[in-house]
Amino acid sequence: MINIELTAQDLERYDRQIRLPNLGVEGQRKLKSATVIVAGLGGLGCISSIYLAVAGVGRLILIDKEKVELSNLNRQILHWDKDIGRYKVDSAMEKLNQINPTVELCGLIKEINEENVKELIRGSNVVMDGMDNFRTRFILNKACHELGIPFIHAAIYGLEGRLMTIIPGKTPCLQCLIPTPPREVKLLPVLGAIPAVTAGLQVVEAVKIITGMGETTGSNLVIIDGEFMKFDIIKVARNESCPICGIKK
């Protein structure tokens, strides 16, 4: 990370978070020097990119290959009615640039695959999971492990959100949790506020990783049960035979 100096404007814009005892001016400088990948600009990615931008992350790389559809609008709040038919990357960049013009934005209309994943995420400090399928999550998990980049896994279903921060070499990885690809469920139910809550927590994890504050999820999978307003924690063990991170692989 190159350390970039803060301007007088930065100090005012981020004043309320600089006041966090464990963040401070130094933490803010780290955020400004950081590059974060937002993989997918759906329900999760719309929220995470907004809060990463307002937190003053220096550079955001937004990756999504899709165009905005009417049925996205109950949750993907960066995309508005007028944006239907536009690339999500274009729609998101327009709004994020207005929310915080001091953040450098890089939009890529691309599908993440085994061939391009490493060149897409190399050099970044954190990768935010905003995918809608297990296949691409597995690709990101593997590449993040090999490049040593923290991968913040998030997923939603209905009124339920899931969160697990994967720190290569320290925590279990996504394939320790989900060893084989499950059947993909398309057109799943979701209330927009659920990805919002989940992605909000995802950003808390990203800011902690970048600034060194607090602790991330460790070996826990956090389950947000919106239907009964409870948080469940599941302990995930590192799988010694995990094909990605196992010591016996």
Binding site: L41, G42, A155, L187, I223, I234
Partner: protein, 137 residues
Amino acid sequence: MNVKVRAYATIRDVIGASVNVTLQEGADVERLLDELVKLYGKSFSERILDERGELLPYVKLLVNGRDVDFLKGLRTTLKDGDEVALFPPVGGGGFERGAGLRAAQELDFLVEILSYALIEHPSFDRKETYFASSEAS
């Protein structure tokens, strides 16, 4: 004895958020799952078990908050008042691949027709057909 089963995500869609099951003293997790399969059929079993009747590797099953992978797996013995939680994996959150609202409505319409046609057939499973057709689109 009675055990309480709590279900999440796609399993909750099938059996509800929680269900009390009465079992014989000394029954294990496998017996409990047998009982749930009897009650909820294929839509439950296909979300939990592989073709050999083993727990799918990506389904987390906890007894009183402890993963059975660290206990005795399906052979973990239950006792009265135990709480068993079933967590299937969850994969949503991002952009939707391909199918938009119209495609979804068309599929739903197709599935409706199919369900009327097949409703008498005992092995017909609406969800299975729905996901299979939407994946193929």
